[in-house]
């Protein structure tokens, strides 16, 4: 195996493939001393800072437009307090009373010099007259998440459509990527043929090729084929394999003992049978990694849909839809943030299910050098 790896110019990965775990080299549990406490707290604070935009997104997505434009409003979703009195909705204010206490009273009869208030705790007691300008008073805020923001986004941008498009693109393209990359990786990992080393190097070097240098003719080709305005320019290339996933799969395939191939060969299995009955069943973790990579890629699709689907908004995926939504409703951040949250929810959930396979895949491609 080591010899073959050198043949194609990539350094061998010592036991990196199958068992590449992000192991923590730590001597057993030690008592939590001052240094550990400090270091752990510091790291967690750093993490909180790192994830704080997510918290802000959640908070903004649940706010009302009124709250966002009100200066001094709390950072959590809230509404100024109100009180129902004789069929009217009254605003509640924090009223400092002559006896030094402050009480929450509902404004019943606003006036310039003095105003009438109702005590929500004892509405039957009648109007309390208070001297001073009510405009200077502050309002108490009550926790009031605007769940309706999500429903609003759902209908305003035809969110179900965008979501369905993205899922379909991820599924079809994912199948194309997995099938083509598995075949190509199997070819590079298990068969000797003239020029293999150079071809593999050529494959890897495409990573360094700037997209701009192929874009213009590729666009012309798709125009000539009549594919602009369809998903084909986004999907068809996925069926022709890509360097990252082929590399990842090949590295993994090479760690699968050849003895297993040989045993199947004795049973009369051909190359395709060996791939399907020996290699693929062993390689599930890395195939899952490729699937998740493609899912992330599909959710990120922006540029290709932008140029190829400009005339077909019904075919747009989420990322492009989200940016178009921002162009239209940029002045209503609660909707933008709600749409942002709705866009990321599926990848985030899938990540937590597949994170081990995913992160291991990154480590394998990353050790390429």
């Amino acid at each position: 195996m080591a010899r073959e790896a050198q043949l194609v110019g990539a350094p061998d990965l010592p036991a990196m493939g199958v068992e590449a775990e992000i192991e923590h080299r730590k001597p057993g549990r030690r008592p939590l001393d001052g240094r550990s406490l400090f270091a752990t707290t510091f790291t967690v604070l750093l993490l909180a800072l790192f994830l704080s935009p997510l918290l802000r997104t959640v908070s903004l997505s649940l706010k009302s437009a009124d709250q966002i434009t009100t200066i001094g409003a709390p950072i959590w979703p809230a509404d100024p307090g109100t009180f129902e009195y004789e069929g009217d909705t009254l605003d509640v204010y924090l009223v400092p009373l002559p006896d030094g206490t402050t009480r929450e009273l509902a404004l019943f009869d606003p006036g310039r010099q003095e105003s009438g208030f109702i005590d929500p705790a004892a509405p039957d007691a009648g109007v309390i007259t208070w001297q001073g300008s009510w405009r200077a008073l502050e309002q108490p805020w009550e926790f009031a998440p605007q769940w309706g923001n999500f429903g609003e986004v759902w209908t305003r941008i035809n969110f179900p459509r965008l979501m369905l498009n993205t899922i379909l693109l991820a599924l079809i393209g994912g199948i194309g990527t997995i099938v083509s990359c598995t075949l190509v990786a199997y070819g590079f990992a298990r068969f000797r043929f003239p020029g293999r080393g150079i071809l593999f190097l050529l494959l890897l070097s495409t990573i360094f090729l700037p997209a701009a240098v192929t874009l213009i003719p590729t666009y012309r080709i798709f125009v000539e084929l009549g594919w602009v305005g369809t998903w084909l320019p986004l999907l068809v290339p996925a069926f022709f394999a890509n360097a990252y996933d082929v590399f990842l799969l090949r590295q993994y395939f090479m760690t699968i003992p050849r003895e297993l191939d040989d045993a199947a060969k004795i049973d009369g299995a051909g190359p395709l049978r060996i791939l399907l009955s020996v290699i693929v069943p062993q390689a599930w973790p890395v195939i899952i990694a490729v699937a998740v990579f493609h899912l992330v890629y599909s959710w990120n699709l922006y540029f290709e849909p932008l140029i190829y689907l400009s005339t077909a908004p019904d075919l747009h995926p989420l990322s492009l839809g989200l940016s178009k939504f921002n162009d239209i409703y940029g002045s209503e951040p609660q909707y933008i943030q709600a749409a942002t949250l709705m866009t990321i929810v599926i990848p985030v959930v899938i990540f937590f299910f597949a994170q081990r396979a995913f992160m291991r895949g990154i480590v394998i491609t990353g050790v390429e050098k």
């Binding site: 080299r25 752990t40 802000r56 075949l183 070819g187 040989d262 990322s319 943030q337 990353g366």
Partner: protein, 316 residues
């Protein structure tokens, strides 16, 4: 090899016109056909076509007859102040984004790998998680954080008595702002660095300690040399990426280069030349120029690697 030995035991196939090696090669080529086809049609042919375009006067909507213009496009490009500005913008951004993209994941990996941090396995998962968030979503989340009045970042700065800038609308602060927007992408570099750190043999640290090396000494004489392949990998891919940086400014400012042309990156110029001005040939020339710049920097990096990248187990 096992296959050859095994084949000897097999009864010879009578009708086979090809040798075993030829048949193996045939299967190999068959399996890699999808990539070969894709490479020829979607990579090689377009690259050649782009190169050819640079010698003509092609436009998206061709009005004038197509004609061979020789090196006119190249001459125009070298005298194009806008091109140099765009290149300068890109390099200026790279000068900030690249070091951050190297140092931050490395330091984070160092921290998470430290024996003093408890539960780092869980913390690491959460540091990695935003990596999967689509860049448009990350842009809106961080863009909102960077808002001059309402954003939390400036809010936090006021705790320390600092009046934060208007990040994305100030030419002096827009690059740090863009780097901040890209922060959620560090996850993959972080875990690659962690894997690298865990591959450093413990004995080397023990030996360094015996020689009296403290934290910085070990970092300088053990960690950094042993990590140089990972650093090289991150640097190379980071450089290739940053020279093509373009999607975030495209979404943020629709390719206008606001504020004051500070986000008029090289790729934005290519994009505008092609899609807004419809000038295919000039766009191709710019793209080819970018390709050469990337190729040269990559080659220089690979050449320099022999002086600073240490591969364990390699004989010199």
């Amino acid at each position: 090899m096992a296959i050859v030995e095994l084949a000897r035991d097999e009864p010879p196939k009578r009708n086979s016109r090809f040798s075993l090696a030829q048949r193996e090669a045939g299967w190999g080529f068959l399996f890699i056909t999808p990539w070969i086809f894709g490479f020829l049609t979607l990579t090689l042919a377009p690259v050649i076509a782009t190169f050819t375009f640079t010698f003509f006067n092609l436009r998206l909507n061709q009005q004038t007859p197509v004609r061979f213009v020789g090196l006119d496009n190249y001459a125009a490009m070298l005298g194009d102040a806008r091109m140099w500005d765009a290149l300068l913008v890109t390099l200026r951004f790279a000068a900030i984004a690249l070091p951050v993209g190297l140092i931050l994941p490395f330091s984070l990996a160092l921290l998470l790998n430290s024996k003093y941090v408890r539960g780092s396995r869980y913390i690491q998962t959460f540091f990695f998680m935003p990596y999967i968030i689509p860049f448009v979503a990350a842009l809106f989340a961080w863009g909102s954080m960077l808002n001059a009045e309402q954003g939390w970042l400036n809010g936090m700065l006021t705790w320390f008595g600092i009046q934060g800038p208007d990040w994305l609308n100030d030419p002096a602060w827009v690059y740090p702002g863009l780097v901040v927007i890209g922060l959620w992408g560090i996850g993959s570099a972080m875990i690659i660095n962690m894997a690298g750190l865990q591959n450093v043999p413990t004995e080397l640290y023990d030996a360094a300690r015996v020689d009296g090396a403290g934290f910085w000494g070990q970092l300088r004489h053990v960690t950094l040399p042993m990590m140089s392949p990972v650093i090289f990998y991150s640097l190379t891919l980071g450089l290739v990426g940053v020279l093509q940086y373009f999607l975030v400014p495209l979404v943020l400012n629709s390719g206008t280069g606001r504020p004051a042309g500070a986000t008029y990156f090289f790729n934005i110029y290519i994009y505008n030349t092609f899609w807004s001005f419809g000038n295919m040939s000039y766009g191709a020339t710019l793209a080819w120029f970018l390709f050469v710049v990337i190729l040269l920097t990559t080659l220089i990096l690979f050449w320099s690697a022999r002086y600073w990248v240490y591969y364990a187990g390699e004989n010199k």
